[in-house]
């Protein structure tokens, strides 16, 4: 096999890994959209907020220190303790659940029955709000997430695959973190599917997704289910935030991955969990391959910024409901 071809395979593998991370964000979208019809633009900011909260708790930062200092003229910043990672993750999950409750109680409870586009715009407002709160609570500097996740290229994979090609091929370069992320994503998806299939709450969740009024009539509390899906989406956001944060630092650009998850959703369909995963893979591989074969040599690079959207756009023209989405039936 020629080295070029093998490097092409390496690009595909790395694309798959990136795709898994996109899929992680897209999962949060699908959960909320299925259960409540809300297209949650704030998912990316939720990932940022969750990661910021995790770092802040671990480092023992005082929340809103900046604001308190400005108002009262004090000079506090840290409690002076370090919180172990497990406890910090637990606390962050609690924060995300509290956030889910607050979102449901203060915002979306009042917007039931509004047009989908109004709900979508409300989530854009929520995204701004949460971004500001995150900055106010924990400051806006770039943080590193010290969870002890493995990083850097995997030597083992490189040595194992070294013999495949000729003299100018040195084995596949694959980031250990990406492998961990893939594993975590698989576990998470398996967990979510098991939750949806086998638990009482999961069944109630699917009932709500099928038909709100029928679910109400058999005694399922809509507001409880909505808090539940927002909490689940918050936890998924935490996982996505940790993975992306470990990769590139916890900073504002983390919230932009939400924009990357949108074409994933369009490809996979808004209502399908497998669709989110497959869509993520297609986008991840597609954009890496395009950059490798056409973008970098001929177009001056950085095509990853827009390729995913164009791919989704062209794809949608032929199949408007996405790969796995429910067929769109329109009635007058």
């Amino acid at each position: 096999m020629s080295a070029d071809f093998l490097y092409g395979i390496e690009v595909v593998l790395n694309g798959l890994m990136a795709g898994v991370l996109y899929a992680l964000v897209a999962l949060g979208f699908v959960l909320i959209f299925k259960a409540s019809g809300i297209f949650n633009f704030a998912q990316g900011v939720m990932a940022l907020f969750a990661a910021l909260t995790l770092v802040g708790i671990m480092e023992g930062q005082v929340p809103f220190a900046h604001l308190i200092n400005a108002v009262f003229g004090t000079n506090i910043h840290h409690f002076g303790w370090q919180v172990p990672a497990i406890l910090a993750i637990f606390l962050t999950v609690l924060v995300m659940i509290a956030f889910a409750w607050a979102v449901q109680h203060f915002v979306f409870r009042h917007l039931v029955g509004q047009e989908p586009i109004i709900l979508f715009m409300a989530t854009i407002g929520l995204a701004y709000f949460l971004e500001g709160v995150g900055d106010l609570m924990w400051g806006s500097s770039i943080r590193t997430l010290a969870l002890g996740l493995p990083q850097g290229g995997s030597l083992w994979v490189e040595e194992m695959t070294n013999g495949l090609g000729g003299d100018d091929f040195y084995g596949f370069f694959i980031d250990k973190l990406d492998m961990v992320a893939t594993l975590v994503a698989l576990v998470l998806v398996a967990g979510l599917v098991a939750f949806a299939q086998y638990t009482k709450q999961g069944r109630a969740m699917r009932a709500v997704a099928d038909d709100h009024q029928a679910a109400l009539s058999v005694g399922i509390s809509l507001s409880y289910i909505w808090v539940l899906v927002w909490s689940l989406a918050g936890i998924v956001a935490l996982v996505a935030g940790v993975m992306w944060g470990a990769k590139s630092g916890v900073q504002f650009s983390l919230s932009l991955i939400a924009l990357k998850a949108l074409p994933v959703l369009m490809l996979g369909g808004f209502t399908s969990i497998p669709g989110a995963i497959v869509g993520g893979m297609i986008i991840g591989v597609g954009e890496k391959l395009f950059e490798y074969t056409i973008g970098a040599p001929y177009l001056g690079g950085a095509t990853e910024n827009w390729f995913a959207y164009m791919l989704a756009l062209v794809f949608l023209v032929f199949r408007p409901q996405g790969l796995f989405g429910e067929r769109i039936i329109e009635r007058v």
Binding site: L136, A302, L316
Partner: protein, 358 residues
Amino acid sequence: MLYREAGDFKTSYQADSQTFPIAFDRWRYWAVLVIAFCVVPFFVNAYWANAILVPFLIYAIAAIGLNILTGYCGQVSLGTGGFMAVGAYACYKLMTSFPDVSIVIHIILAGGITAAVGAAFGLPSLRIKGFYLAVATLAAQFFLVWMFNKVSWFYNYSASGQINAPERFVAGIAVTGPNTAPWAQYMICLVFLTICALIARNLTRGTIGRSWMAIRDMDIAAEIIGVNPLKAKLTAFAVSSFFIGISGALFFAVYLGAVEVGEAFGIQKSFLVLFMIIIGGLGSLFGSFAGAAFLVLLPVALKVIGVDLLGWPTDLVAHLQLVIVGGLIMFFLIKEPHGLAQLWRVAKEKLRLWPFPY
């Protein structure tokens, strides 16, 4: 007492279907125009022009444009920043290629070019609807910004990748370049805004505007009663992009003077204009003005209160601003999904009946 139809008799169909059926509204309209054209230019200084008036006028044009597409035709677009960039770069290329032609013509042509680009990106809207379309317009946003960054022909191969507006004159007065007087900046934007608003108002009143609204309310039903969706959607995209292109050209040539595409016309700009029409009111011209004024004034007001009065650090105020803007958007959507324009409409209804509301 003044605000009512009673006694204001119409004697022709033309008078009956005019834009402002109530005499007080007509007087107010002329009064606003007179103040804007004849009073403000004599008092405007550099701070007011740069911080408030010129951005307000330019964003109002962009908001009118987006409101035509989203508010009147129901097609959500997140590509406003990209289309503004098209207007800016088209204007720049025209200004540098044909230095003898008047800048006014260049700005109008830039609008025309943006209209063509907008119509091209509007083509998928015939198949793709709702959220899917909103996301599809992101393709325009990211692709256009990338293109203006990478293809050096667009910025005349300058080393910095920036575009700089050369000095241009209208009737012997500099309107672009470093020596522009604040009142000249203000006047050229005001003239464009007034003309755009007049065009928009009359388009939305007529056949074409009604076909847009039919598509917005239910596209299949509209198609059945004989509205051509291809024509309606593409004209909405084209007209909307025309206005957005003009605002982009003014934003670059008159307001900023030098532009780096990712910074000036990024995705944040798309959201900003979208917020303007949400807060102002979808499907309302007054809403476009109100929303633009609100979101231009809010950061200035917060800065004056936070930084100058309370002495807080600027980054803290910037974060608070995000919280407040986001919170206000949610608040408005909950309390009044139709925006400031609806408050205004309700107030007018009350006024008409006051003091005997029965």
